[in-house]
């Protein structure tokens, strides 16, 4: 079985602060994995390590058979990979951020076609056609020529999803994508994500939306203090939590 994501013995420190303490996990093609856990548990850091936005070490991250960020020398040592190789790896990994991070000086369409045209060298017209398709998919066909500042948070986040999809990634990473949204805008973004999951996209979703995780995830991973404490199907995690820490965490959501 070839894993789409394979993380083994992953550590990450910020100076003396040990954020990830040996993470082992895999994600299979087509799987939707939701990562839950208290703030500071390292779940966003884990996500950022997956495409080397945060350099990690020691440990290994493999995406679709490619070691991310490093090259293994014959003697087993790891050296940082050349920038252009890392860029190529990153095109296979879409990320949607908590703060949307749309490019404010570019229109919605320009946001979406920028990387396909400049990085993947797709003809502009073809990229535009694809952008129109993606905008329809996220329900924003009428916003093609709008600028990010003219959109609501929920609309911006849906554009950000379309922008990531335009690179035709093998896996999509979602980093607390609804946390910066007004409550009434959360639903439209989660709706788009549900559609993606139905279409068979491999998704790695860091989230505080328990209802979403329960409904959409194939597997839920619970992290605390830089470790994976428990993982399993949502029915197990939410219905029959084994660890004390998970019970406490879920208890806070039931309020």
């Amino acid at each position: 079985m070839s894993h789409l994501i394979r993380v083994s013995g992953l550590h990450k420190s910020y100076g003396p602060l040990h954020v990830l303490k040996g993470i082992d996990m895999t994600v299979e093609p087509g799987e939707v994995v939701c990562v839950i856990g208290p703030s500071g548990s390292g779940k966003s850091t884990l996500l950022n390590c997956l495409n080397f936005l945060e350099p990690y070490g020691p440990g290994e991250v493999w995406i679709d058979g490619v070691l991310v960020g490093y090259e293994k020398k014959p003697d087993g040592s790891m050296v940082k990979v050349a920038d252009h190789k890392l860029n190529a790896t990153r095109t296979a990994i879409g990320i949607v951020f908590q703060q949307f991070n749309l490019f404010p000086h570019l229109s919605v369409t320009e946001n979406i076609i920028e990387a396909p045209v400049r990085v993947r060298k797709i003809p502009a017209q073809q990229a535009r056609d694809k952008a129109r398709e993606l905008l329809a998919k996220v329900g924003l066909a009428d916003k093609a020529s709008a600028y990010p500042s003219q959109l609501s948070g929920g609309q911006q986040q849906r554009v950000a999803i379309a922008r990531a999809l335009a690179m035709e990634p093998k896996v999509m990473l979602f980093d607390e994508v609804t946390s910066a949204l007004d409550p009434e805008l959360v639903g439209e973004v989660l709706g788009v994500m549900k559609g993606l999951a139905r279409d068979g996209m491999t998704m790695f979703v860091v989230t505080h939306e328990m209802a979403f995780a329960r409904e959409v995830a194939d597997r839920v991973v619970f992290m605390a203090d830089g470790e994976i404490v428990e993982q399993g199907p949502p029915s197990e995690i939410f219905g029959n939590p084994r660890s004390e820490r998970l019970r406490n965490f879920l208890g806070r959501f039931r309020g």
Binding site: N51, L53, R90, T91, F97, N101, H105, E114, R120, Y147
Partner: protein, 217 residues
């Protein structure tokens, strides 16, 4: 007061000749200063500690040395080391390298004012650092730094007056020449001041237009 209308009018052609040199000095020095300033700013924000420190040293030094001293050094000091440059070349170099230091600081601050998420998003889409800088970061920086850069350019234009000390007949020196020639002080300098103002006003107007044009809707 010795203002005389006829001397004022008679001085105009000579002053305009000087103003033309001032304009040439300004355009060339601003152009070189912008390019050099951008390079220094990119060096300053680079992850490489050597280029970053070199760039920091440059901006600190060039902002700490008076322009007049740089001019004197290049014009009178360098020939003793065997390097004789024309007054015009010296003027352009001194104005440009000084301007570049201020421009670099403005652009650096501009780059650092752009949300870190912009670079992260660009890199996550597979863009290289250079491509992300050129396509995503710098276009946003341009909009933010346009007003302070124009102010720096206006300062440079006014600083060209210092070049009068190395025998270049730019606007101020043309005024001084008229003063000697006509034995009248008030009239030529009234003209000099007026022409400087006429040159700076369009720049101020120009930037307000650019700001409107590049405004992010």
């Amino acid at each position: 007061m010795d203002f005389q209308w006829d001397i004022f009018v008679e001085a105009i052609p000579a002053l305009l000749g000087g103003a033309w040199l001032t304009i040439q000095l300004t355009i060339i020095s601003v152009a070189i200063g912008l390019m050099l300033g951008l390079i220094v700013a990119l060096g300053r924000v680079s992850a490489n500690p050597v280029t970053s420190k070199l760039a920091a040293a440059y901006t600190t030094a060039m902002r700490g040395i008076p322009l007049l001293v740089t001019l004197m050094f290049l014009y009178y000091g360098l020939p003793s080391a065997g390097l004789q440059l024309s007054a015009f070349t010296v003027a352009v170099i001194a104005l440009a390298v000084t301007n570049a230091a201020y421009v670099a600081e403005i652009i650096r601050a501009g780059i650092q004012s752009i949300d870190r998420g912009q670079m992260r998003a660009a890199r996550s889409l597979g863009m290289s650092y250079g491509l992300a800088m050129r396509r995503i970061i710098l276009p946003q920086v341009v909009r933010r730094v346009l007003p302070p850069i124009t102010n720096e350019s206006i300062t440079l234009l006014k600083n060209t007056a210092l070049v009068s000390t190395i025998a270049l007949s730019e606007l101020l020196r043309s005024g001084l020449e008229v003063m000697t020639w006509k034995a009248n002080t008030f009239s030529p300098f009234a003209g000099v001041a007026l022409i400087y103002l006429m040159m700076t006003l369009p720049m101020i107007w120009f930037v307000s237009r650019l700001e409107k044009r590049y405004a992010i809707p």
